[in-house]
């Protein structure tokens, strides 16, 4: 059996934590190999070791059967290993071609030979079915297309082993299907792929074998065809995971959030939300379903105060908040799990302690007459960290930036739920989380509902909306298409409505 890459008994330590403990991963030529693990299990570290970003303390790496020392990413590139990071590394105002040749620019005499490069990129793009325009600017193309540019970049550099770090986290369902097609094309052309993920569905759909790691330890490698989603989940989490959300019938009470014919402009200064009305009652979860960019952001930002409402009113428990500053809205009991955790949710250079009191640092007991009370802040943060199993190198004093994305998300959710808000606005609350954490977060959100609070859920994952919500409002092109009762609908009906096919209001 020929392996392109063998990572044998890898151990990697960081101050205070063993990120990889005796992990073995072997990649066959021409296979798609999934690397599965919970948030912070050490997947990215392991791939960092392969890509030359970290040096392992122990263990052996072989490429094409020969032992190698990968001291930095350039060495990895020379060995034919390429990586697509979860957060793309592209220059926004450069064209696709310029981005791809960056660092290895082809020259004609003294000047750049862009045309030659563009031609080659076009050929590659056609060959692998990527459908990328080499002359388009990065800022003008979609996220999915940007990802394909990253893939092209590796192909241009003649990489044979491609590492994709959570490639589907940023994609829409359609784009995910396309990516899978592309991955199969690549395999047919003799490339080998390692895909880092914790989405079991995708592994079942595309991967040949799967290596599971849990808390830094290698659990084993299995053939995907012979294992079920449930068994993979169990290997990853270490216990049985239920995929069904258990919840009681909702008992809606008084109206907590009332939106009345709200219109909001989007970033392009045109109406992104038109004449939108919605009610969310205490003790119910209302989900908003829709394809990305159909007004969800505008709804959320108008309620939370991040964006101005052009017309219409927003009421919380009967009080109008349409034009209140953000802090006053928070104080009225609105809490918001933001869509972009790194842009809005956290001050990445602050410690977890500071981040956990980001909205309430000026309240007792965290401060008194303008002076901060660090012990109180720390105790409060520690409580959240324990409750929500936020894993980090140095506990509460860790800088937020050093946490893995999933743990950052858990910290934010913990912070928002700890505020015990009357209205919780959860935008993509489980984005980037593994099944174990998703199960936990879902349970906490339902608990929050059962305590008699209102929850507005916005998610691009239809499964999540369908499972968690009591009632679903569907938006298309900034308008409310209709509302349905979650228990009485199905994926097809909601999917049709998301596409803009209206329905008589059923409520």
């Amino acid at each position: 059996m020929s392996y392109v890459v063998e990572m044998l008994n890898i151990r990697k330590e960081f101050p205070g934590i063993v990120a990889n403990d005796n992990i073995t991963l072997t990649l066959k030529k021409g296979e798609i190999h999934a690397l599965l693990g919970e948030n912070g299990a050490g997947k990215s570290t392991l791939m960092g070791v392969l890509f030359g970003m970290y040096q392992p303390e122990r263990g052996l790496i072989k490429v094409n059967g020969k032992e190698v020392k990968i001291t930095n990413p350039n060495v990895a590139n020379r060995l034919g290993i390429g990586m697509v990071h979860q957060h793309f590394k592209l220059v926004e105002n450069f064209t696709v071609t310029e981005n791809i040749i960056l660092g290895s620019e082809p020259l004609k005499g003294m000047v750049l030979d862009i045309d030659k490069a563009a031609k080659r990129i076009e050929e590659l793009s056609k060959h692998y079915g990527l459908n990328v325009d080499p002359h388009a600017k990065i800022e003008d193309i979609s996220v999915g297309m940007q990802q394909r540019v990253e893939i092209l970049k590796m192909l241009y550099r003649e990489a044979d082993v491609l590492i994709l770090d959570e490639p589907t986290a940023v994609l829409t369902p359609v784009e995910i299907d396309e990516l899978m097609k592309i991955m199969r094309n690549l395999i047919n052309e003799g490339k080998s792929i390692i895909i880092i993920t914790h989405k079991l569905k995708e592994i079942k759909a595309v991967a040949d074998r799967c290596t599971v790691i849990r808390r830094g330890k290698g659990i084993g490698t299995v053939n995907v065809a012979e294992s079920s989603e449930a068994s993979l989940a169990e290997m990853m989490v270490g216990r049985h995971v239920s995929f069904k959300v258990d919840k009681k019938e909702s008992t809606p009470g008084e109206v907590v959030l009332k939106i009345d014919s709200l219109s909001v402009k989007n970033n392009r200064k045109v109406m992104g939300l038109k004449d939108f009305s919605l009610e969310v009652r205490a003790g119910e979860i209302v989900g908003i379903a829709g394809v990305e960019g159909n007004g969800q952001t505008e709804i959320v930002e108008a309620i939370t105060g991040l964006r101005k409402a052009e017309s219409g009113t927003i009421l919380i428990s009967g009080e109008e908040i349409t034009n209140l500053p953000i802090r006053q809205r928070n104080e009225k009991g609105i809490s918001h799990i933001p869509e972009d955790r790194q842009k809005r949710g956290l001050v990445l250079d602050y410690s977890l302690v500071s981040n956990m009191v980001l909205q309430i640092y000026n309240k007792q007991p965290f401060s008194k007459r303008g002076l901060l009370n660090f012990p109180a802040m720390k105790a409060y943060a520690q409580n959240i960290i324990e409750n929500f199993d936020v894993r980090s190198g140095e506990g509460a004093s860790s800088i937020a930036r050093t946490l893995s994305g999933g743990n950052q998300q858990k910290a934010i959710i913990g912070r928002e739920l700890e505020l015990d808000p009357k209205l919780l606005i959860a935008v993509q609350p489980t984005r980037g989380l593994d099944v174990g954490s998703i199960e936990y977060i879902h349970r906490r959100i339902i608990e929050h509902r059962d305590k008699g609070n209102a929850v507005l859920l916005i998610s691009l994952e239809l499964d999540e909306v369908l499972q968690l919500s009591d009632r679903i409002a569907i938006v298309n092109n900034g308008e409310l298409v209709g509302e349905v009762i979650a228990a009485e609908t199905n994926e097809n009906e909601v999917g049709l409505m998301m596409a803009g096919v209206g329905k008589e209001r059923s409520i």
């Binding site: 791939m47 957060h87 959570e166 914790h198 991040l306 001050v347 893995s404």
Partner: protein, 359 residues
């Protein structure tokens, strides 16, 4: 701790490089440095002058560092010093008050003037997103020409057209007990003000909700906005405080170290403040020591020049080299890491995560 080590290494490397330069021009570096130190610290008077030289730098360093901690680049300390100095001079020349009250009013006038000068760039940034680097530099030149017009027009000196009337000794920050203590040095109350400012700023940044908010806005204004902080108000407030510091620095320079204000000069201390802040790692206490170091280099250079062949420009050269090393502190950190790596294999300081946002 780490920042301190990096700064100290930068200083040592800068001094070594300066020594090599001295060797190149055929002088003995040990002799050169010993005269430089003597010039700065040989007797009480020289020590006093060194501290006085450092005083405006402490203010401008604090000004730049404070703005930077809150995510703003205040390049306008020079202009803020000028208007601060002008306001204090104008007060001293206009009002006939008893000394304690006069000094208090002078300092307050300088503080307010500096703050107002920085308020405009702050407002432009908050309202129209005008980059503060551009607007503060423009404000420098507005201050420059304002002085050019007002000083000869209203406060003309008795002998020279190009400077304001000399302040009476009792109208300056110089005070007999300090002057006597330091054998006739021009050290003055500005130093005390500077130390107080260091303490207040350190306190604001580390211990108060205001500092918490300002830093949050500096690191990530989107998250600050999300959390309900008033981002625009904080930008303006931060510029106000930064400008006030530089304004008082101007008071210390023009009514403490000197007795008059000259036209046609943008005080170099404003720009040196950037270097001081950089070397002091934007920490108030670090700024204090960095400013004192600059004071030593500046005030010792004359003596060195008198006793040896070494030109006085060398002090500036050394400062420039130190700044280069401080600015490329990434290189020094790498060096440190390599050092540590040899001892133990724990060089990856970034923690267990390769990329933020994945797992």
């Amino acid at each position: 701790m780490r920042n301190t080590i990096v700064s100290l290494i930068s200083i040592i490397l800068g001094l070594v490089a300066g020594g090599i330069l001295m060797l190149f021009i055929g002088s003995n570096p040990i002799e050169g440095y010993s005269y430089l130190l003597q010039g700065a610290l040989k007797n009480l008077e020289r020590i006093g002058n060194t501290l006085a030289t450092a005083t405006p730098l402490i203010f401008t360093g604090l000004s730049v560092a404070f703005a930077f901690r809150t995510g703003l680049f205040n390049i306008g300390a020079s202009g803020q010093m000028l208007v601060g100095g002008l306001a204090a001079t104008a007060v001293a020349l206009t009002f006939d008050l008893s000394r304690p009250i006069l000094l208090l009013v002078m300092v307050l006038a300088g503080l307010v003037a500096g703050a107002l000068w920085a308020f405009i760039p702050g407002l432009l940034k908050a309202k129209f997103n005008v980059h503060e680097v551009v607007s503060t530099i423009m404000m420098n030149w507005i201050a420059y020409w304002t002085i050019y017009y007002i000083v000869p027009g209203y406060f003309k000196g008795e002998f020279l057209e190009t400077e304001s009337k000399k302040l009476a000794e009792s109208d300056t920050l110089r005070t007999p007990f300090l002057t006597e203590m330091f054998d006739g040095s021009y050290i003055n109350l500005g130093l005390f003000l500077a130390v107080i400012a260091v303490i207040i700023i350190a306190f604001i940044i580390e211990k108060t909700t205001l500092g918490f908010e300002l830093k949050a806005v500096g690191f990530n204004r989107f998250a600050a906005e999300y959390a309900g902080m008033k981002v625009n108000r904080n930008i303006i407030l931060s510029m106000l405080i930064s400008g006030a510091l530089a304004g008082v620095g101007g008071v210390a320079l023009y009514t403490g170290n000197a007795s008059s204000i000259q036209i046609g000069i943008l005080p170099a201390q404003g720009y040196d403040g950037i270097a001081v802040a950089l070397l002091g790692a934007n920490h108030p206490v670090g700024v204090f020591f960095a400013a004192v170091l600059f004071g030593i280099l500046y005030s010792g250079t004359g003596f060195m020049n008198a006793m040896t062949e070494i030109p006085p420009e060398l002090a500036n050269t050394i400062i420039a080299i130190i700044i280069y090393f401080a600015a490329t502190s990434v290189m020094i950190e790498r060096l440190l890491n390599k050092f540590k790596a040899k001892k133990s294999n724990k060089e990856d300081k970034s923690g267990p995560v390769v990329e933020k946002g994945d797992s």
